[in-house]
Symmetry: C3
Subunit: 448 residues, 3 copies
């Protein structure tokens, strides 16, 4: 697909997803998954409200039909029909006459961005409220207001998440995870699932796929916790690398990579290597406890090798969590560039990991496989040729050194090792070895 066709496709999908009133539970999430299923064969799953999930509990399912704040003169100051951000997400129902003063604690604005409506949520404490531009707020007259929110918090509802798996030669997995719970926010919401759609299309088109790829769409935080409760053991066993996709649009020119909690997982090394030695730059952030769903994947009891890619990073731009986070701010073209860069990382990861030399006692006899010059004359002592590269890969492929580390050792870009790795695998001299270095903690057995 050429970039412009891809951009058109993603823009169509953006426009379908944008108006839906999403939250961490409820019909909005399911409708959004329906739309994404046109591009990724996601399987929708559910977990009942009230279920304990580690230290958490699945909240009631929220449905919202209408939300309107009407002033003393009948003027409408906030209206869900106008923008999904008008109502505090997860508001309980209300139908009340109140004075301006009584209303005060239920209103949210951004004094520093007076024209913008903030995005406000109150998932875990019953509350209600309206968001509105500070300019509107400043002009609110005294008098009696009507706060009307027609919502439902269903204790016997459910929370949903969705995933699909693209099988590869190995059952070792790469995880791509994004979230879908913010309504009408662009960079900090739709950029993730849309970049994932592009990556699904790209990866499913690869001729070979060494690893199995798992695509996960969850409501943020509670959704990844629910996902870990069900699939955490499996991920601990099989996960080679994971990436959380968030905020992948916006004006920044280069992608930013947030390291895994381990900081030296294979994915960390590969991204750092590409930045250092290949024709692509990343801004690299060390692990920290703020962020998106990698907070759960990298929690110390799981400590999964999950990094995160973002372009214009959450919390570091003014439009974050406001009505200014629009399609225009996000730029659909940025998503195509993000998908392209992440695809390159994954393509590199496919060959840059751990292998086991199948003839480790002495050098393998390369000439009987036509992989070595049979006549040894002075011309054959050239450095840096394919044979040298193969011998280097063979020497270090003892299951504890990755190909990307060999490349670093020789100060070469790892792409110059790809052909050697492929030829050695074809000749049966090398086999992939899915080594995950131990990260010792005192948490031996997850006990959930």
């Amino acid at each position: 697909m050429n970039p412009s066709a891809e951009q058109d496709w993603l823009e169509t999908r953006f426009d379908e997803l944008w108006p839906i009133t999403r939250s961490i539970t409820g019909p909005g999430f399911r409708e959004s998954v329906d739309i994404l299923q046109q591009d990724i064969p996601l399987e929708l799953q559910s977990i009942p409200s009230g279920t304990a999930v580690f230290d958490w509990e699945i909240p009631p399912e929220w449905t919202i039909n209408e939300a309107k704040l009407t002033g003393p003169g009948g003027e409408v100051y906030a209206d869900l029909d106008e923008t999904n951000l008008a109502v505090v997400n997860y508001s309980e129902p209300v139908d009340k006459q109140l004075s301006r003063e009584e209303l005060e604690s239920h209103l949210y604005t951004l004094p520093d961005l007076p024209a913008a409506t903030p995005y406000v949520t109150s998932y875990y404490e019953r509350n209600w409220g309206f968001s509105l531009p500070h300019t509107t707020y400043s002009s609110l007259p005294d008098g009696e207001y009507h706060a009307y929110i027609d919502s439902e918090l269903d204790e016997s509802g459910e929370l949903n998440y969705a995933h699909t798996v693209l099988e590869g030669e190995s059952d070792r997995e790469i995880l791509l995870s994004s979230y879908l719970c913010h309504p009408s926010l662009a960079n900090n919401e739709l950029s993730g699932p849309l970049t994932m759609a592009s990556l699904y299309r790209r990866i499913s088109a690869w001729e070979n796929r060494k690893f199995t790829y798992r695509f996960v769409i969850v409501p943020e935080t509670i959704g990844s916790l629910a996902y870990l409760a069900r699939y955490g053991d499996q991920l601990q066993e099989n996960l080679v690398a994971g990436l959380v996709l968030t905020c992948l649009g916006g004006p920044e020119g280069t992608l930013s990579y947030k390291q895994t909690r381990r900081e030296d997982a294979l994915i960390d090394t590969v991204v750092g290597h590409i930045d250092d030695r290949m024709d692509r730059e990343f801004r690299i952030r060390r692990f920290d406890t703020g962020g998106s769903d990698e907070r759960q994947y990298c929690s110390p009891g799981f400590n999964l090798p999950v990094g995160q890619f973002a372009r214009t990073v959450y919390g570091m731009y003014d439009e974050y969590h406001t009505s200014l986070d629009t399609k225009e701010f996000m730029r659909v073209g940025s998503l195509v560039e993000s998908a392209e860069a992440i695809e390159e990382v994954l393509e590199t990861l496919e060959y840059a990991g751990y292998y086991l030399n199948q003839e480790p006692y002495g050098e393998p006899m390369m000439s009987k496989r036509d992989m070595y010059p049979t006549v040894n004359d002075p011309d054959s002592y050239k450095e840096g040729n394919l044979v040298d590269t193969m011998m280097r890969v063979l020497s270090y492929s003892d299951g504890t050194v990755s190909v990307v580390s060999v490349a670093d050792r020789y100060d070469m870009p790892v792409e110059e090792f790809q052909l050697a790795v492929e030829q050695l695998c074809s000749a049966g001299l090398l086999e992939p070895f899915e080594y995950t270095p131990g990260y010792p903690t005192q948490f031996d057995q997850p006990n959930r």
Copy 2:
């Protein structure tokens, strides 16, 4: 206690301890412990002369009554009644007329400090002798001298040491060890036990005490060996950190810390961190085999995490082991400052160690504990606040990373983590974990 009251108290104790004729065995050690018992509830213990202690043997118990060197004209040139340093410590009895020449090999002086009397000992070889100022020595007339030493070396005597334990919440221990065997030396003797007295007073006044504190007073070298023979196994099991207290007075402005043999024990990290990132400076010495009782505690078969604090360090000042090492040289005020600095180190150690996150699978739900803002609005994304600090501590508290290391990772002083640690412990989200990283050696089982 205000510093000036503390100084008066320590000076009184100094004056009581100064005149006693101490040695590594004998009544002088016991009398000194009696005096210290006014401030520290020390329990006196004994081990018989002749007992094998590792590669050593407990020496006979030494008692000295009188020592006098009289010249040809009846002049007294050295007299135990004048100074405890006048007689070579552990001198065997002698009552002999000798010529000036025969006397020569029994006289000790300091030609470079002609007014000072040196402190000389001969514990492990039977010998006798006198110390005197070089000026006196130079003027000794020819003629017959009378060397008279009324001492006793009792093969059925004993060696003593003393200790006490201040219980804490945990049975994991902090060791404070000093020695009490040099007679009439100030910086290199009384500074240690007196600083310990101040520390005992301080630590017993703390509101909470996480660790158990063990205070040990021994005769140097042979005493710590005897102590290890009895308590070494227990220390190996429980010791989190230890400090030998020596030479804590004198003119130097900052304390000097000598690292443990491991060099990266928790106590080493904490002292280095305070020096680097907090408002106190230390001079840090790498481990070496010279020193005080840490030589025994850190011997490779024990390899205990014991460092050492000194101010004006042994062997690095001219007054060392001479009659010039007086109260005036030592300065009682320096001891108060030493105790204050060491108390800060111990206070930091109390919270800066290892913990185990009690909800390690996913993030704990902070909001249900009122530890997190329940409404998520744009104001709540501030860096460096208490919630962030708590999340960072939780993320790394897997039992292998200390809080001081987390602070180093974030380039912050560890004191900014204290409140977070305390609140997480109160909330039951964190529990102390007394991790001691393994230091592999080939000495598996002490076999004493």
Copy 3:
């Protein structure tokens, strides 16, 4: 032996070895070993042609009697009688009339060194050919040529190698390995075995020999593979360090050391330390997969601690593998200097390794062994004296820290520790401990 006598001896041996028509199998190798047996009591061993050796097979035994290329006018253009390099090593027999054009693909020259004859081999593919100077080649007339090679490739022949062992106090071994298969090449052939002869003479003359020394002469590559097939397990168990000797002559002033695959084996540390802190410089190369028999010893299934010494390194000089690699290029004097330098490395290795303190609980009592001043007066606190050095060695000799690492820690040349080590061993306080740090790989058990 003085250097000039040694040089004369080695030159005599050089002249005996030079004319022999060697290859990786055949009578030339055996004759060469016969000559070396005058200096090293080598035991000749054999392995039959056709035997599988790891991924390889022992080739047929090659014998050559005559090789001559005659031109149209009867002129001889290449003749084994003139130089061993004239015939491609391992040529199959041929007796054929051919045109100039048909001959073309069987001729090897060096256009950039037109006066030199290249050294060409074809061990593992049946082939035949002649090497000649490019000037000769350029003047070859058209017409019919006679290619005559009287050789034999005996499928029921054998391959030979030779070794001897100089017993030491310990059964832990040092390996010295060189190769003997190139005919009439000096630096890249005879320099190795001749330096080994000098080292055998030197080491057998040492008063004490802690380690056992194994001297191995093989045909390059296939010979070390065969040797590993038979002795690899034994080497894995006992080898403390190994050195491949190659290209030890030539104009370079300093020896070059190629590190083991481990890069931090004891031998690597010792050579680096001598270069850094003692009066001898080395050029140090990191491990790489090109080289001599260390390619086999360091293959990942064996991963033996084998480094390599060379002076004028293979592949880095124009004369490499050509008729210009002569005695004059090699310089016999260089070999004496090489042997001297390597001897110093081995002498250092003898005491610079791992020891176990025999009194590790507390300090040993040095005074009862007369290793410590019995009277403790101020004069005895001098740094850097023998007692200090002994205490430092004792403190770190827990079986995990080598003496050379202790020297590095104190920024001292390790030779200043030799006396301390010797005295402590004599006193029974230290025992050699043949620790080889584990280098974890996934290859647990050699399965040959």
